[in-house]
Each structure stands twice: as structure tokens, then as C-alpha cells.
């Protein structure tokens, strides 16, 4: 038998899954852009007290609605001031904290709920699946914005209430996607092999199934983060979200809307950063889906 025809003597040369992933990540511009924007905003949010040029709550009646530098303002307030004379850049920087915190914590809460439900339904099937599917359908029948508005109207708006409401409402997509992914992976023979070895159910779920569906989970996390951030902005815009004077981008748009015709930048600046953040998160999610797509794993 010649050396080449004996597969045992052939070198095992292909790249490891880790190397492949690294190569695909750095070759994906959308993902790099998304990751970079989100990372920068996260650093800005964390370092807000260091970076912000002014106190975001400090009012100044003599310096109200000063324009940003590019509209003839001064470097004292690079993005101008709002109707109470508060530095707009500083409020924007502190607003990043609110947005990322709400997006992150709401996605975490709903991710835990939805993943637990979806994985259980997909793995155990039968009655567990029937119950979870019923709960998903009940949840999908409820309009998120109306329910959130109603709850916030009753309990009063605050950062905690908004995070809790969104966290308890946005688990449906997690449950649907994790259920479908688990159902697919459960049928693989390596799961049967682990069962035949005598591995416990928690071990099979955590060590055999989760690593193979976690890429789908990450994609949903990004989608739901963006979703929660937009919903917070909408609730705050309607006066039912984060309460003034807390700086929130949705609230800034809301406070600026009365002056929109005369000072459009009051609305456009927070609107633009909100747009960029949501776009970046979505690009990140899309990119992650691309680089971890199953067809790349042969």
C-alpha cells in the first residue's frame, strides 16, 4: 500500500476550528465595524465620569441651547447645550450607560428565561415541549409595546422597571431559536453516544448540546439587545421610560422635539448615535451568524 493511499499516514493538516473562526472573523468587515463601535461605546459608557467634559446634570440658564461647534458653537460645549443649559456631549456619554445597561441586562434576563425554556422543550419534547410552545404562543399574542406601556404606566417609569419589563417580555425569540437548534442537535449521534456512555442529562445539555447552539444564542442576544435599546428609547420618548433628569437618548430626543424646527440638532444628534449603536449591534449579530454558520463547520 503506498503511503498516500493510507489515510493513517496522511498528515492531519487542516486548521483547527479556532483558527478557522479567527480567520473568518478578521475577514468580515461588517462584524469588525459592529464590534468596534459597540466596544468603543462600551468603553465610553464605563469611563463616562472620566471622559465627560461636564456634569450631565449641571444646568445653566445663561448657556441654554448653545449650538454645537460645527454650527458655530464653542469648544466649551462641543455638541452644544440643551434647553436647560446642560452639556449635550456629557449627557450623550452618560446616556450610553443607560442604553447599554438596559440592552445588556434585559437581553441577559430574557436570554436566561428563553434559553432554559427552548432547550428544555427541544431536548425533552413531549409534554414539556407542548407547554413551552403554548407559552411562546401566548407571549407572541401580546403586543410588546402596549404591554410595556401599560405596565410602566401602572408601576411608574424607572430604570429598574423598564429593565424588568423588557427582560420579562423579550424571551420569545430566544425560546423559539433555542428550541429549534436543540431539536436539531439532539438528533446527532454524539448525543446518543453520550447517553450510551451514561452521561447525566445536565452534562449532555451543558457539554454536548450548548457548545453547538451557542452561536445561535449569541446572534439572538445581539438582536434582542438592539430591540431593548430601541424600546427603551421609545418608552422614554413617550415619557413612560427612564425619568428626567436621567440622561437617556430617547429622553433627549423627546426633550428636543419641541425645538426641532429651530434647533434640529437637538433631535438629530441623539437620534444619530442611537441609529449607529443599533446598526452596529445588528451588524455584529449578522457577522457572528456568518462566521459561525454551520456550513462552515463541515
Amino acid at each position: 500500500m503506498s503511503d498516500l493511499s493510507d489515510p493513517l499516514l496522511q498528515e492531519i493538516t487542516g486548521p483547527t476550528p479556532g483558527q478557522l473562526l479567527r480567520k473568518r472573523v478578521f475577514g468580515h468587515q461588517g462584524l469588525i465595524f459592529g464590534l468596534a463601535v459597540v466596544a468603543i461605546l462600551a468603553v465610553v459608557a464605563i469611563l463616562a465620569p472620566v471622559i465627560a467634559p461636564h456634569d450631565p446634570y449641571a444646568q445653566s440658564l445663561v448657556a441654554r441651547m448653545k449650538p454645537p461647534v460645527f454650527l458655530g458653537g464653542t469648544w466649551e460645549n462641543p455638541l452644544g447645550t440643551d434647553h436647560l443649559g446642560r452639556d449635550y456631549l456629557s449627557r450623550l456619554i452618560y446616556g450610553a450607560r443607560v442604553s447599554l445597561m438596559i440592552g445588556g441586562i434585559a437581553a441577559l434576563i430574557s436570554g436566561v428565561i428563553g434559553t432554559a425554556m427552548g432547550v428544555a422543550a427541544g431536548y425533552f419534547g413531549g409534554k414539556v415541549d407542548a407547554v413551552v410552545t403554548f407559552l411562546i404562543n401566548v407571549r407572541l399574542a401580546m403586543p410588546v409595546v402596549l404591554v410595556a406601556l401599560a405596565v410602566v404606566a401602572i408601576l411608574g417609569g424607572s430604570l429598574t422597571v423598564v429593565i424588568a419589563v423588557l427582560g420579562l417580555l423579550l424571551w420569545d425569540r430566544f425560546a423559539v431559536v433555542m428550541r429549534a437548534s436543540t431539536l436539531q442537535v439532539r438528533g446527532r449521534e454524539y448525543v446518543a453516544a453520550a447517553q450510551a456512555i451514561g452521561a447525566s442529562t445536565p452534562r449532555i445539555l451543558l457539554s454536548e448540546i450548548m457548545p453547538n447552539i451557542v452561536n445561535n444564542l449569541i446572534v439572538v442576544v445581539t438582536l434582542e439587545m438592539a430591540h431593548a435599546i430601541l424600546l427603551e428609547a421609545a418608552l422614554s420618548f413617550l415619557g413612560l421610560g427612564v425619568q428626567p433628569p436621567t440622561p437617556s437618548w430617547g429622553l433627549m430626543v423627546s426633550e428636543g422635539k419641541n425645538m426641532m424646527l429651530f434647533e434640529p440638532w437637538l433631535v438629530l444628534i441623539p437620534g444619530a448615535v442611537l441609529f449607529v449603536l443599533v446598526l452596529a449591534i445588528n451588524l455584529m449579530g449578522d457577522g457572528l451568524r456568518d462566521v459561525t454558520a454551520p456550513e462552515n463547520r463541515s
Binding site: P7, I12, P17, A192, A196, S200
Partner: protein, 331 residues
Amino acid sequence: MNAMSKPDTPVLELRGVSKVYSVKQGLMGARKPLRAVNDVNLTLGRSEVLGLVGESGCGKSTLAKILLGLEAPTSGEVLVDGEAIGSHDRLKLARRIQPIFQDPYSSLNPRKSIAEIISLPLRVHGIGDHASQTKAVREILDVVGLPARVMNTYPSQMSGGQRQRVAIARALIMKPEIVICDEPTSALDVSVQSQILNLLGELRREFGLTYLFISHNLAVVEHLATRVAVMYLGRIVEEAETGALFDASRHPYSRALLDSVLTPEPGLGVPDTHLGAAYPNPINPPPGCAFHPRCASATAFCAARAPRPVASGDGLVECHLYDPETEMFQR
């Protein structure tokens, strides 16, 4: 070991094992019973290799899952060393019976390194520490003919044959007595199939393993199996010593399978049984002898009454032609 003290006890015995699935037909269809395995009786002696052969969908994998404890039989019982499977706990059973599955692309977790995959049984059973597990992996890799350097690679870096060797290593690392091989070569290139078959044969001699070797192709089991059971629609229709079956098979279905093996390129894909009529839907099995719509020897009697299993030689046949009681009604 209790197994040694009872040399006459079969290592593995199936008594009247049936599995009925309840399947939904169509979107609103009512649930209907599907008899995937129908009253199967089999025994396997120590170091025997029982070939289980039949067309795709006849219930071979379902039987394998029952033996592995992955599915509970609807009725009947499975005995390992004379003890019902139910009385073994999962871990105890796992040490005795291990599987090798068909598709090495699906049987290895793509997220785990080869060392992690092969050492999983040791870790689950808490055998040894990390160092001794690594040593055991190294040794078993050598046994299945893989170099130790594959330990840190991933399944995606390997060929089908190499992956199947990894699956064999995982199955053998706890030194089981019985290995259930469910079509272990069907997903492999023809050139690699014989290497894996040879390896399985060597391992059996070396470790005194008992195999249940499942295949849809009689040719594959010819050299490995000591006995062969032919399965059709969930039933064993003939069982015999391998030599006897290949020299003088009695059941018309076994003969059709044998003929398909003798066609020009054996081993390539699903054998063509030349049986004309398609394999029946197991939800609506034909009345009488389930094989009668495709059987060249069938008579009106066959469609009316199901044959009984008849002991013949040291095996059995389930066909009216061989039943001394019903034979006389035939023509």
C-alpha cells in the same frame, strides 16, 4: 466476575422484544401505531458476532437503541449476562455495552478535541485522574491505529475513516464486553470500509468482544459474523450460522438479499434487491406474511396467514414453505 462463573448464560438475550412508536400522519392525522420491532428473540454467546441484516427502515437501529438502553421496549425484555437491562443502572450498563454508530460525521462532537471525545467515558465514570486518562487515550489511539498527535486535533480535521477510528476508540476505552456496531462502514468510502472491518475483526480477537453487527448489506457481514439474523419489517425472518446462510439460505427474503450481493459491484450503496415492489409502509404492514407482496414463492395462503418461526438446523426460519404444519396447504 459473575459472567465468567456462568459460561452458559448468553451475554445478550432478547426475549419477545417489541417497540411500537406512535406516529402522526399528516398535519391533522390521527396517531397510528408503527411496529418498528416486532417480537424479536435473539441470543448472543460470548465472543460471537451476530450480523443483523435487512433493508433500511426494517428496525435495526431501533433494536440497537433498545439494547443500549436509549429506548425502552414496548414489551419484552433484554438480558445482559442473564440480568434484565432494567435492573442495571445506566452507568453499569454503559460499562458493558457500547455503540459504534453509522455516521462518523455526526457521532463526534465538532466542538471537542479528539482527546476530550475519547476520554468522555472515563470522565463520566470518574475513572482515574487527568494524567491516567490521557495515558489511556494515548494507548487506545494506538490500538485503533491512530498516532498520538491527533489528540489535540478536532473532528473537522479528520477523514471519515479516521473519525470512525476515534468513535471505535471511544467505544472501547472502558473495555466493554459487547459492542453494538450500527452500520459502522455504510457512511465510509469503499476503500476505507475494509480497513475498518479488518480493524473491528482484530479488536474482537484481541479483546474477546461480542458484536452485534448491523448492516443493510449481507456482503459486509460475511467475513465478520459468526451468525446472521435477517430482519424484515421488524421481525427476524431467518437466523442461521453465517456459512449455512450463505451456502443455503432458506427464506425467500434472505435469498433476494444474497442475490443482490452477487450483482457486479457489491458494497456500493444500498443493494438492489430486485424485488420489484417497494418496501412496504410499516404503518400499514401487509396482512399474512409481511413479505408476500414481494415474494416470488408467495401463495394465496401467505396473504391470509402469517408464518410462525420454525426451528431449523440450529437457527430459525419464518416462512410457510419451511413449516411442516402449513407446508401441506400450500399448492
